[in-house]
């Protein structure tokens, strides 16, 4: 038994580099999949095909340390809103994407933020507000000021990207991973001390809500 145990252990987390689970959220058609594919495979997909739920995972070097990034690319359409809860639950960091050429997608971010907070029950969950389609600045509908003010209001960073030009694509993923990493380190530190409390508190809140 011990032998098998060790074998099993060595197979799983011991050898595997740290895994950061990133979830892409945002309205349909804002470019979540485009950002993901650009990041993963350096390709820009012109065709629009609504996503249901895609999963990507690859090894990256984050600040000299090999880590794995697991990206869950979710469906932006309202049809799938019901199953979002389950996805969100497993997420460790979120990229909340909207299109700067579409005000509605910007407004929708509010709802996503609230849902994430509700599912994760954590105000400080790693979270980035991403304004995509930066290359289409001439069609811009959402003023930069509004975006930045909203991010400031939420206490999250705001980055403008372009999946087409790959502008700031790597940056948003790496920034998020850094936040997740630092957040995990914090958790590990405090896990031994306040693990129970935290979970209790969490549960209680849920019940009340």
């Amino acid at each position: 038994m011990p032998i098998t145990d060790t074998e099993a252990m060595s197979k799983k987390p011991a050898v595997q580099p740290a895994l950061h689970k990133v979830i892409m959220v945002g309205s349909g058609g804002v470019g979540k999949s485009a950002l993901t594919l650009q990041f993963m495979y350096d390709e820009f997909v012109e065709d629009y095909e609504p996503t249901k739920a895609d999963s990507y995972r690859k090894k990256v070097i984050l600040d000299g340390e090999e880590v794995q990034i697991d990206i869950l690319d979710t469906a932006g359409q309202e049809d799938y809103a019901a199953i979002r809860d389950n996805y969100f639950r497993s997420g460790e960091g979120f990229l909340c994407v909207f299109s700067i050429t579409e005000d509605e997608s910007f407004q929708a971010t509010q709802e996503f933020r609230e849902q994430i907070l509700r599912v994760k029950n954590d105000e400080n969950i790693p979270f980035l507000l991403v304004g995509n389609k930066g290359d289409l600045s001439d069609k811009r509908k959402v003023p930069l000021a509004d975006c930045e003010s909203l991010a400031q209001q939420w206490g999250v960073p705001y980055v403008e990207t372009s999946a087409k030009t790959r502008e700031n694509v790597d940056r948003v993923f790496f920034d998020l991973m850094r936040e997740i990493r630092s957040r995990k380190m914090d958790d590990n530190k405090s896990n031994n001390v306040r693990g129970k409390d935290k979970s209790k508190r969490k549960k209680l809140k849920c019940v009340i809500l």
Partner: protein, 979 residues
């Protein structure tokens, strides 16, 4: 070796079997074929895999369930790994899920109390302990759990729910504390649920009450209803329904029955319509037969047999029976019709084809041939017999008969020229054969060439040949029996008139018919055997016609003796010619022309009539006969016996005015007749015969030189006989008168009267001879010398006899005798033959010799006698002129006015200069001989105008002369007829 493939992306990450999955990663193969295997959740999906690029494969997920790896294997990189997983699930059909199956709705109501999630993800129950779900990869395998709890289940809804399973399954690595918290959470939840029931009722009191009221109301109403209608109101309804059902059925049955009937009618109508063709077939067949449109019948019949021939439908069979009987009638009709003659080839062919198309059986083509054959034979026989009967009738009474004309259909009035029945028969026979036989032949040809689609029996070919030969032979035989009876067998019935010569003139007509027939048959390409029949017939007929035309000519020549009127024309070249020779020549020429026209022209190249030896021989024989007939004619004419017996009984009554006028008209003294015949003979001999030979050859006949030679011999004999007769006739009275004249007035040679001139007897002798000479010159100048010589000889003989009888001469008598003899001798010396000279010398010797004085005196008298001063002696000059018997030599001028045209050389026609007469007077001189023959000035003018016209058109002289000769000839004729 390329690095192994790594799958790093999956889209979507979960789905039911068959989901279209986009797989992304690295080194997924260098080309489509490089991809060996694609495993999704352990299921091989390579079949549906679509290799896009080394980074992308699109495939469809297999039936794998649960989470599973996506393993790509390439031949270049081997088995690969993956960093993402696919979760296959089997979709549970929910009420909100679009589905093709029926979803039972009942559980929903129960669920409503449970407040279970109705979202599509309801299968993923919230954890009853309120704890977060553990990571999937830490799960204890389901199989292990099954082993641990063989009867249990980890399903919360299951009856044999095993909590331990559930905890192991879901909270395998949850800390005990957490589990306790979860338990308390569960308890709280259960309590809150209980509490929630009460509070739910409390909060909804009003509506609960309302529901209760409604239920009461409903109960009351239900009870009232039960009171009113009984517990089971359906009985009445059921009865009503049953009643209405029966009613409906009844109604429906009615409708159905009617509809069925209508359907049947419609079906029947449709059948009628559809097979209208068949049903109307009997009628249409009889209509078409009435219209004689057999082709249509055949078409219809064939179509009907094709369509319905093998039908099992009774109705159709019935109709077909009717049709069949109609067709049988038609077949019988056609069969009868094919035997009805006459009909054209086309009609017959049509009938045959129809019969064959109607499957009439038998051999209609052969039947048709046979009926044609029988018909032709019958026609030939009956036509022949009919003509024979007619002929037999006609040969008895000589009344006008009805003859069939060439066209053969209408009856004519008595025809001036009655065509003999045999000829008519030939005409009809040839017409029948020409008309009918080609049909028979062509029918046979088309029969054997298969044009008639008939089955040809093998023995038919020789039979047909026999038929053809039979027909040809029969027609030939019939024709022979009518016009060539001598070539027929003796037992064959022939025409009674066929032997008569009267058939002769009509033979060319028959020949023409046969020739036409032959050419018709030639065009048909018949077997040579058949053609030989006809060509043999043709040859025989030609020969017969040729001979009969010669014979005919002979008869005409014989008849000429009645034509001789003894009127003559004097031709300086040829002497006096009567009309007979010209008529003869005309007849001969006519004969040649008719032979040429009717017989020779019809010769084909390889079958010339006269190249055949037999024909030649027969022709020559006939020609000999003909020419001899001419000689006989001449002979008969000269003797005139027939004339005197038959036609001229009046000639015996000499001295009557009748005879005198008759004599003047006909001018037939016996001597003159002799001379004219002689002249004619010579003319025929020297002028005509040489011409005739050429004439024959020119006209395509063979040379008749030998016949002519033969004839000339007999002609010469005749001439000599005639001359002798003439000499006898003339010299007898002449010689007879010498003695009486010498001793007229008791003259005695012992006289004392000195001679001063010739004695009258001598002068009489001379004048008598001159008279004969004159007659000869007028009629036959050519024989003058011969005749006169003969006469002189007899005269000399008589003189010598008389002198030798003188007993005594006185001196004067001596002188006188000497003068007479010498002068006669000298004068007639030109005509003296050796015998005559001897006789003269004999006579002179009898006279005693003269003295010198006497001789002087005699010489003086002689000189005086021979001087030309005396017009009485003008003829003394004449004997000095040369007299030659040549016919074309200039005629010696005569001392009397009968001499013709002395101013013109008689051969001016052929040898004179080109100077032509320009005026009427000149003309008169030039053509005096014509003028003499009572030619009117008007006619002369005609000739003159002809001459002038000719000159204008500068024709050559010979042509002109021949023209004038023709005019001459016709004028001569006109002169004769006018007199």
């Amino acid at each position: 070796m390329a690095p192994p493939p790594v799958v790093t992306g999956i889209s979507p990450k979960e789905g039911p079997p068959g989901t279209r999955v986009t797989i992304r990663g690295e080194h997924l193969g260098s080309k489509p074929n490089d991809l060996i295997s694609l495993l999704i959740c352990g299921c091989e999906c390579q079949l549906s895999a679509e290799w896009k690029s080394p980074n992308k494969i699109i495939a469809r997920s297999g039936p794998g369930k649960g989470r599973g790896e996506i393993i790509v294997t390439t031949s270049s990189g081997g088995e690969g790994t993956c960093t993402v997983q696919f979760r296959g699930y089997h979709e549970t059909i929910g009420p909100l899920k679009e589905s093709a199956v029926w979803v039972e709705e009942a559980p929903i109501q129960s669920l409503s109390w449970n407040r279970r999630s109705m979202s599509p993800s309801s299968y993923q129950l919230e954890d009853p302990l309120g704890l977060s779900v553990e990571r999937e990869d830490r799960k204890i395998p389901e199989d292990d759990l099954h082993e641990l709890f063989p009867d249990g289940s980890g399903d919360l809804g299951s009856e044999n729910f095993e909590p331990t399973w559930f905890l192991l399954d879901h909270h395998h690595s949850t800390s005990f504390d957490d589990l306790r918290v979860g338990l308390s959470f569960l308890r709280r939840k259960v309590e809150s649920q209980k509490e929630g029931q009460l509070s739910f009722l409390k909060s909804n009191v009003s509506s609960v009450m309302e529901q209760m009221d409604t239920l009461f109301l409903f109960k009351e109403k239900f009870e009232a209803n039960v009171r009113d209608h009984g517990l089971d109101p359906t009985i009445k309804v059921e009865q009503a329904i049953k009643k209405s059902m029966t009613e409906a059925t009844k109604l429906f049955q009615d409708v159905l029955a009617r509809r069925e009937k209508a359907d049947k009618t419609r079906n029947a109508l449709a059948v009628l319509q559809r097979y209208r063709f068949l049903f109307s077939l009997p009628l249409s067949i009889s209509n078409n037969i009435a219209k004689n449109d057999i082709d249509a019948v055949i078409n219809d019949y064939a179509r009907a047999m094709n369509l319905f021939g093998k039908t099992d439908v009774v109705l159709f069979k019935k109709v077909l029976c009717e049709v069949e009987s109609n067709i049988n009638d038609l077949r019988d009709m056609l069969r009868k019709k094919i035997k009805i003659m006459p009909q054209t080839l086309q009609e017959q062919k049509t009938l045959i084809r129809n019969l064959i198309n109607l499957d009439a059986g038998g051999d209609p083509g052969w039947d048709a041939i046979m009926s044609q054959y029988e018909y032709i034979t019958h026609l030939l026989e009956s036509s022949k017999n009919e003509h024979m009967t007619l002929d037999a009738e006609n040969s008895k009474p000589k009344k006008p008969k009805h003859t069939r004309s060439a066209s053969g259909s209408h009856v004519l009035e008595p025809v001036p020229i009655i065509i003999p029945q045999p000829i008519l028969c030939v005409e009809e026979l040839t017409a029948i054969v020409s008309e009918r036989f080609p049909d028979l032949w062509k029918l046979g040809q088309s029969y054997f060439s298969g044009e008639l689609q008939a089955n040809i029996e093998n023995n038919n070919q020789p039979a047909f040949k026999k038929i053809i030969l039979d027909v040809v032979a029969l027609s030939c035989k019939s024709i022979r029996s009518s016009v060539l009876p001598h070539t027929c067998d003796t037992n064959v019935k022939t025409f009674p008139t066929s032997y008569k010569e009267s058939l002769g003139p009509h033979l060319p007509t028959a020949l023409q018919y046969v020739c036409d027939l032959y050419s018709n048959l030639l065009a048909l390409d018949l077997p040579t055997q058949a053609l030989q029949f006809v060509s043999k017939l043709l040859f025989d007929l030609k020969l017969h016609t040729l001979l009969s035309s010669v014979r005919q000519c002979e008869n005409q020549i014989k008849a000429l003796k009645h034509e001789e009127k003894w009127q003559y024309q004097f031709n300086p070249n040829k002497g006096a010619i009567t009309l007979v020779p010209n008529q003869l020549e005309q007849l001969i020429m006519d004969m040649i022309q008719s032979i040429k026209l009717n017989i020779l022209n019809k010769d084909d190249k390889d079958n010339t009539l006269l190249s055949n030896d037999l024909a030649k021989h027969q022709f020559i024989a006939e020609m000999n006969k003909l020419l001899l007939t001419i000689v006989n004619l001449m002979d008969e004419l000269s003797s005139g016996s027939n004339d005197q017996e038959d036609n001229m009984p009046v000639s015996q009554l000499i001295g009557s005015p009748m005879v005198h006028s008759d004599k003047q008209l006909s001018g037939t003294f016996y001597e003159e007749r002799l001379l004219l015949t002689l002249s004619n003979c010579r003319y025929i001999h020297y002028s005509m015969f040489p011409r005739w030979n050429n004439l024959f050859i020119q006209n395509g006949l063979i040379s008749i030189k030998e016949s002519l030679h033969l004839t000339i011999e007999s002609l010469m004999t005749l001439e000599n006989k005639l001359i002798e007769n003439y000499i006898e006739i003339k010299s007898d009275p002449l010689v007879g008168t010498i003695e009486p004249s010498m001793y007229l007035g008791h003259f005695d040679w012992d006289t004392n009267i000195p001679p001063s001139d010739l004695k009258p007897y001598a002068k009489e002798i001379l004048s008598n001879i001159i008279a004969v000479h004159a007659e000869l010159v007028r009629i036959v100048p050519g024989v003058i010398h011969k005749v006169i010589s003969g006469i002189v000889e007899t005269v000399a003989e008589e003189l010598s006899r008389l002198m030798s009888c003188v007993t005594k001469f006185s001196d004067c008598g001596k002188e006188q005798a000497y003068v007479d003899m010498s002068s006669l001798k000298n004068t007639l010396s030109q005509y003296c033959t050796e015998n005559a000279k001897a006789y003269f010398l004999e006579a002179l010797d009898v006279i005693p010799p003269l003295t010198a004085a006497q001789r002087e005196k005699v010489d003086e008298i002689l000189t005086q006698f021979q001087s030309p001063s005396d017009p009485e002696r003008t003829f003394e000059i004449y004997p000095s002129l040369p007299i030659q018997p040549e016919i074309n030599q200039p005629t010696p001028p005569l001392p009397y006015n009968i001499q013709p045209t002395p101013t013109i050389p008689s051969n001016s026609y052929t040898s004179s200069s080109n100077v032509l007469p320009h005026t009427l007077d000149e003309m008169k001189v030039k053509f005096k001989f014509l003028y003499d023959s009572n030619m009117e000035d008007m006619e002369m003018v005609q000739i003159l105008s002809l001459v002038n016209k000719t000159k204008q058109s500068s024709r050559n002289l010979d042509e002109l002369i021949s023209d004038i000769e023709s005019v001459d000839f016709s004028l001569e004729r006109s002169v004769i007829s006018s007199t």
